[in-house]
Amino acid sequence: MSSENIVVGVSNLPNQRFKIVSEQGGTFTLMVCGESGLGKTTFINTLFQTTLKHADPHQRRNQPIKKTVEIDVLRAVLEEKNLSLRVNVIDTPGFGDNVNNNKSWQTIVDFIDEQHDSYMRQEQQPHRDVKFDLRVHAVLYFIRPTGHGLKPLDIETMKRLSTRANLIPVIAKSDTLTAKELQEFKLRIRQVVEAQEIRIFTPPLDESDSPDPAVMEHARQLIESMPFAVIGSETKFDNGQGTMVPARKYPWGIVEVENDNHCDFRKLRSLLLRTNLLDLVLSTEELHYEAYRKLRLEGSGASDDQSVPVRAPARKLSHNPQFKEEENALKKYFTDQVKAEEQRFRQWEQNIVNERIRLNGDLEDVQSKVKKLEEQVRTLQLKRH
């Protein structure tokens, strides 16, 4: 009896798994982050090939010009070949729009932490079959195509994001950089990312894991072209061969979104959806969530205050430092006002004292005059007698 001939059915396990997965579908949470006007919304729509999110200039324009960072969550179900994927897209409008952008990453970082936190709490509940999961699987950070380098704001934000989620830096609107400029820009960003110890997501390159050389080659290509230079477009144009492709039409040529010579959109899509979606989800689960969970449950004294009880970790919501600043400013204003008023009162007092002295002087004058007059009267009376 050779074991090769007997089929117990264990080898069907992948198929069973496939069934389960295709019935349940999957969840994928993607966060886009970056200054406004870098084409985040357009990119999302291009990525999923539908108008998930409407660019609504009117709503945007009625807001006051001083903005705070908001968090927009958008849920959608994508269906492709009977497989449904629940997609959550998180947008961060208002990031980097203000004159003072210090700490504007706080809202975003807090949001990511909060999702980890709420998931952890749900896990600790007695009934935990229905979990509301909005943990961010991937963060796309859009970099302005300046051709210079990364700004301090970019670096600070990316540093903080990279410890909490899978960070994928992306050069937005890359159709404004010529090939040479783009090459230099990418190189510079890579150097900065390395020097500043920002951990960006890279597809696993473990030889033993995937023996297929083609897969390895693909992964290597992806790593080489990081950070991805992307363009987005919601309209389609004829690409010259009669097929309609998403593209941007300039007077000097048509930029095709899905052309590898023009941009890295296809590579990024492959990384996000086609080849590495599972890696993203798993590394969120195993790396970032675990790290967060460990930190919370251990209550590691170094980073958190000791007062947090170990078993029931109540996350202290970090206060938005912007409010703190505002509070300080208000306090200062208040004290200044008080000071000014006090000064005024002191001035009044001074004036009153002066007035009193003057009046006293007057009084004395009058009194002396009276005395003099009395004296005169007396002398006159004496004379008359």
Binding site: P57, V99, L150, Q196, Y250, N354
Partner: protein, 547 residues
């Protein structure tokens, strides 16, 4: 009028300022405008190679006029250093002066060179008149986490130029070699977001427009398709309207202007804000292009870039207009404001310094000189309260300032005392006149203003500068301290790790060499200690050298 004449003698001064976010193409625009590689791009040492432009001669190479940054170092020429990229670069203002021969003006603008150059020729000047052109560039705007710093710096810079002219104008003896450094036009580069103006754009343009003509410009317009560009232009104009940003508008006066000018201005007004794309690389035909994999863009193609129009406006049609509005409108406003504030101050103070008899003599230069000497004397012995300041309000404020003096370090105290001395001078200057010549108050006041204003302004400026320098010094000291601290920490870390490693190493091999182990273990800490001491002294010497 005297300015006009001076213009003739030394050529026409013209000053252009480039303001905008980092990476919006200011450098490229400057290179393209002058058609020569004059400015290096960020992180590059050498400017792009372009053939020399014979019409342009650099008189003064690029120099830093003013800067402000957290670490106290101007950063615009910093080499690319990946490890330091997270430091905020601050803001730097640089200026480059050059001479441009108008005689062989660029063909595009020559066709429509207006009143300016023709009047030059009429007045007997040679056609090849020189423009003393200075290009002021800002670096680092929008790159900081908190950009309020940049605003203040740039506004202060512009105001200072006005102050200098004001001081010069009111001086009794004018300096014949005085250089007018007022900025005539500022180009504000709006980043191509497609969403209208940001808070920063609005704020910056508002501030600029107090001192100069602001032309909003859409930078990197090649990121827009035609429709998008039209939409963006409209949004910007809407926003400018909505937030009432006083940018330069091409207005027409139907009664005065001739038909051509009206038409031209209307066309320009329709075109505003100019969408510009730039390049400082030429293709084989000598045209400036941007090469993309999907096509080649000629940057001076009128169908999608307003670059040529803009050049024409700057150097041709509105050249004189910009100069006139700066001088006749913006500067006059500023002047009126400044002078009235000074004289108002005088009037306010008249009441309470009547007792002061010491300065009853009519103000004269010699009197002023004596004031200066007394002021300097006072500044040398810092805390002496001058006897003549016994008006009711002053003692209070003096006490307060003394109070703050107590807890500030030595260096600060000295500079503060100097500043107090300066304040004293100004106070004297401001309060001296009102007791004089009651018969003709207006006349004496005028005279008095003309004598004192330059000095007042100068002193105010000196005070401001001093304050800034102090701040910068403090900042750089703090920064150094921080870095030293970091370095020391890292050194300590490394040492610790080294020791740990060595211990491990030794532990691994100590079964056999237990006797030697102890001796090496003793040696190791001594060595590391020695090293640490070395590094500390090194750092200390650096600090002392800096200080």
């Amino acid at each position: 009028m005297y300015r006009r004449k001076k213009d003739h003698k030394r050529g026409i001064t013209y000053s252009l300022m480039l303001v905008g976010d980092a990476g919006t193409g200011k450098t490229t625009f400057a290179n393209n405008l002058l058609e020569m590689g004059i400015f290096p791009h960020q992180y590059k040492i050498e400017a792009p190679k372009l053939p020399e432009n014979s019409r342009v001669k650099v008189v003064k190479p690029t120099m830093v006029l003013s800067y402000n940054s957290k670490n106290g170092i101007p950063s615009h020429m910093a080499r690319f250093d990946a490890a330091c990229e997270h430091f905020e670069p601050g803001v730097t203002i640089t200026s480059t002066s050059m001479e441009i021969l108008t005689g062989q003006e660029q063909p595009s603008s020559r066709s429509s060179v207006s009143s300016d150059s023709s009047s030059m020729t009429q007045n007997g000047g040679v056609n090849a008149d020189k423009i003393a052109f200075s290009l002021v560039k800002t670096h680092g705007l929008g790159e900081n986490l908190d950009n309020t710093l940049c605003f203040d710096e740039i506004t202060a810079f512009l105001e200072q130029q006005f102050d200098q002219v004001l001081a010069e104008e009111t001086r009794i003896k004018r300096n014949p070699r005085f250089e007018d450094t007022r900025v005539h036009v500022a180009l504000y580069f709006i980043p191509p977001t497609g969403h209208g103006l940001r808070e920063m754009d609005v704020e910056m343009m508002k501030r600029l427009s107090r001192f100069t003509n602001v032309l909003p410009i859409i930078a990197r317009a090649d990121s827009f398709t035609k429709d998008e560009l039209a939409k963006f232009k409209k949004q910007i104009m809407d926003d400018i309207e909505r937030f009432s940003v006083p940018v330069y508008k091409f207005e027409v006066d139907p009664e005065e202007d001739d038909f051509e000018t009206i038409e031209e201005n209307q066309a320009l007004a329709m075109l505003q804000p100019f969408a510009v794309m730039c390049s400082d690389e030429r293709n084989d035909n000598g045209q400036f292009v941007r090469k993309y994999p999907w096509g080649e863009v000629r940057v001076d193609d009128d169908s999608f870039s307003d670059l040529r129009v803009l050049k024409n406006v700057l150097f041709g049609s509105h050249f004189q207009e910009f100069k006139d509005t700066t001088h006749n409108f913006l500067y006059e406003n500023y002047r009126a404001e400044k002078l009235s504030s000074v004289s108002d101050w005088d009037v306010d103070k008249t009441g309470d310094s009547t007792a002061d008899k010491r300065n009853s003599a009519a103000p004269s230069l010699s009197n002023f000189a004596s004031l200066i000497t007394t002021g300097q004397f006072k500044s040398s012995n810092s805390l002496a309260i001058p006897p003549r300041s016994d008006t009711p309000t002053t003692p209070d404020s003096r006490e307060i300032s003394q109070g703050t003096d107590m807890d500030s370090p030595g260096l600060r105290q000295v500079s503060q005392s100097i500043r107090r001395g300066n304040e004293e001078i100004i106070h004297n200057i401001k309060s001296s006149p009102r007791t004089s010549a009651p018969g003709s108050p207006d006349k004496s006041k005028l005279r008095n203003i003309s004598e004192t204003v330059p000095y007042v302004l100068k002193h105010e400026r000196i005070i401001a500068k001093q304050q800034k320098l102090e701040e910068l010094e403090a900042q750089s000291a703090r920064e150094l301290q921080k870095r030293i601290h970091d370095l020391e920490k890292r050194a300590a870390d490394l040492k610790l790790r080294e020791r740990l490693l060595r211990q491990q190493h030794l532990n691994g091999s100590n079964t056999s060499l237990s006797s030697r182990n102890s001796s090496t273990a003793q040696v190791a800490p001594v060595q590391s200690k020695l090293k640490k001491e070395e590094s500390v002294t090194d750092l200390a010497s650096i600090v002392s050298g800096r200080a």
